[in-house]
């Protein structure tokens, strides 16, 4: 197994993740290292998923009920203004782009 820079570009597109060209060689080498490592499962003898689930109660489903839970802050605190059919929401955070 060997991961190519094109593979990394492809999965980065699928994952909606910007990857700088300068980071590509290192990222390709790391992903290749990880994928080669996990590929040792080929020797584990299991080929496909097993119906048994590790969770002690199997796959639990909750009743399909609408059960709204009160929020600590009412919706009006998130979206205090409504203009031209759009909610105006406060800016949640600013990422330092430096």
């Amino acid at each position: 197994m060997s991961v190519t820079p094109e593979d990394v570009r492809h999965v980065a597109r699928l994952a909606e993740l910007a990857v700088e060209e300068a980071d590509l060689p290192a990222l390709t080498a790391q992903l290749d290292r990880i994928v080669s490592f996990v590929a040792q499962l080929e020797g584990a003898g299991a080929s496909g998923p097993d119906a048994s689930v590790a969770a002690p109660n199997g796959t639990a489903l909750r009743p399909d009920l609408v059960n709204p839970r009160p929020l600590a802050r009412p919706p009006a605190a998130f979206a205090p203004e409504f203009i031209d059919g759009f909610f105006l929401v406060p800016k949640l955070g600013v990422m330092d782009e430096s």
């Binding site: 910007a18 490592f37 996990v38 499962l41 048994s52 600590a72 802050r73």
Partner: protein
């Protein structure tokens, strides 16, 4: 001591421990408000006045929840996690939010956007991860207990490195509502304590069915049993795959001493085999990144936290925000997870790993059905490693979880407790138990804890 006095004391201790970089959000005012709430409770709860630190991937309405990521800088949740509601209901004080590997991905707490956490005994070493901030605060004596979370050993591994107790409950024992999702089939809110008893009390207070998490299981309340006087009648299995020839001599000596003490206390010790144990780490590093890639898709600049504004369409904004907002390890996991789920690779990686996961769980079921009550193993292959030692090679870092991640894959409860020191660094031993057998497992751990001097140097 009143809750007010406890709050003032924990404030002083948090200030004194600031060099560890273990906290992300706390304030004297928030502590005072917590104390006033506790002192006003008409009936003292089982954790009355106990300060408990909370890992910063568990949401609280009073402080930001950043998950150690730039992506969630300044994010404040509009609701509380079930576990924090339950801690408060039991009379605990939420002391602070603690630093962690970004989105709980890491084994050293070096992968936080807010800087690495220092090991309390040696600032050049890591406290383990990803719940390193919680572990360091308990080890430094700032709080008697803390919440962390486990996806693949992220409480037991740092507990072992820092010389404290770390308990991972059965998957389904504790609600995940309000725990920011990483690998949903593996994630467990877990507990640190200075002693088994402290961890046991906190776990009992947060456990139980929650209608807001469909994976919680209706079980009788978790009993907090005292450690019995002897271990007569108990069968402890030692899985040979967990004692490899190259095990660190200090770790081996610590575990050997604990095993000898359990024998003296009357336990029957038997060697057992978990033949698929060697596949646990590669299985984990397929399934956990696959689930993470899906869970972290929601952090896109539109719904939570910060946004990077760029020229182009909305996908350009997603890519720029995620590219800048996530750190190196989270990016690697998202790319790995997307790769193993992508067309052409899904069967070879993801489906195969699901099959191996079932076999790993099956190994445990067979051993427990053969009459073994609990398994005992080292928690980690080495004591705490140096900062920077494993950051260049992600796989070397992943192998720090080799003895802990099986319990997550099989959904089993497990506890790490200190069993000695090697060159001054703590060494941990681990018990694993069948599903929902936490009470008996913790009682056994409490007995061993009482009969071990965990600060004793055990290495050659």
């Amino acid at each position: 001591m009143s809750a007010g006095e406890a709050a003032r004391e924990v404030g002083q201790r948090l200030r004194a421990a600031s060099r560890l970089n273990a906290t992300l959000a706390w304030s004297d005012a928030a502590l005072e408000a917590e104390a006033a709430r506790v002192d006003a409770m008409p009936v003292p709860g089982p954790l009355h006045g106990m300060p408990v630190a909370v890992k910063d991937n568990i949401v609280t309405t009073e402080q930001p929840t950043t998950c150690g990521s730039r992506m969630l800088a300044g994010y404040v949740s509009p609701f509380n996690a079930t576990v924090t509601d339950r801690l408060r209901g039991a009379g605990a004080l939420i002391a602070c939010k603690t630093n962690l590997d970004e989105f709980a991905m890491g084994s050293s707490t070096e992968h936080s956007a807010y800087g690495r956490v220092l090991h309390p005994l040696d600032p050049d070493r890591v406290p383990g991860g990803s719940s390193g901030g919680s572990a360091a605060l308990v080890a430094a004596g700032v709080v008697p207990a803390a919440l962390g979370s486990e996806t693949g050993g992220s409480v037991r591994q740092p507990a072992s490195f820092c010389g404290v107790v770390g308990v991972k409950p059965t998957y389904g024992r504790v609600s995940r509502y309000g725990l920011v999702a990483f690998g949903s089939s593996l994630d467990c809110v877990s507990v640190f304590g200075r002693t088994v008893s402290d961890a046991q009390r906190v776990l009992a207070s947060i456990a139980g069915l929650d209608p807001l998490d469909a994976t919680t299981v209706d079980q009788p309340p978790l009993e907090t049993l005292p450690g019995p006087a002897s271990l007569t009648g108990r069968t402890i299995g030692l899985p040979r795959e967990y004692f490899p020839p190259d095990l660190h001599p200090g770790v081996k000596a610590g575990c050997d001493a604990a095993i000898a003490r359990m024998k003296e206390l009357g336990a029957r010790i038997v060697e057992v085999s978990l033949p698929h144990a060697r596949f646990a780490v590669p299985t984990y590093y397929i399934l956990a990144p696959a689930e993470a890639a899906a869970n972290l898709a929601r952090f896109d600049g539109a719904r939570y936290g910060a946004r990077v504004t760029v020229e182009g369409d909305i996908r350009a904004m997603y890519r720029a925000t995620r590219g800048l907002g996530f750190g190196a390890e989270v990016r690697r996991r998202i790319l790995t997870g997307t790769y193993v789920l992508s067309a052409g690779y899904h069967d070879a990686y993801y489906n195969r790993a699901q099959g191996v996961r079932a076999r790993i769980a099956g190994d445990f079921a067979l051993v427990f059905a053969s009459g073994v009550d609990f398994l005992f193993t080292p928690t980690t292959p080495t004591p705490a490693f140096k900062a920077g030692e494993k950051t260049a090679d992600p796989v070397a870092m992943y192998l720090a979880d080799v003895f802990v991640c099986s319990a997550n894959l099989a959904g089993l409860p497990a506890v790490s407790l200190p069993v000695g020191r090697s060159e001054g660094l703590p060494v941990g031993g681990q018990f694993m138990a069948p599903h929902f057998q936490e009470a008996g497992m913790l009682a056994c751990a409490a007995t061993l804890e009482r009969h071990l001097d965990a600060t004793r140097e055990v290495a050659r």
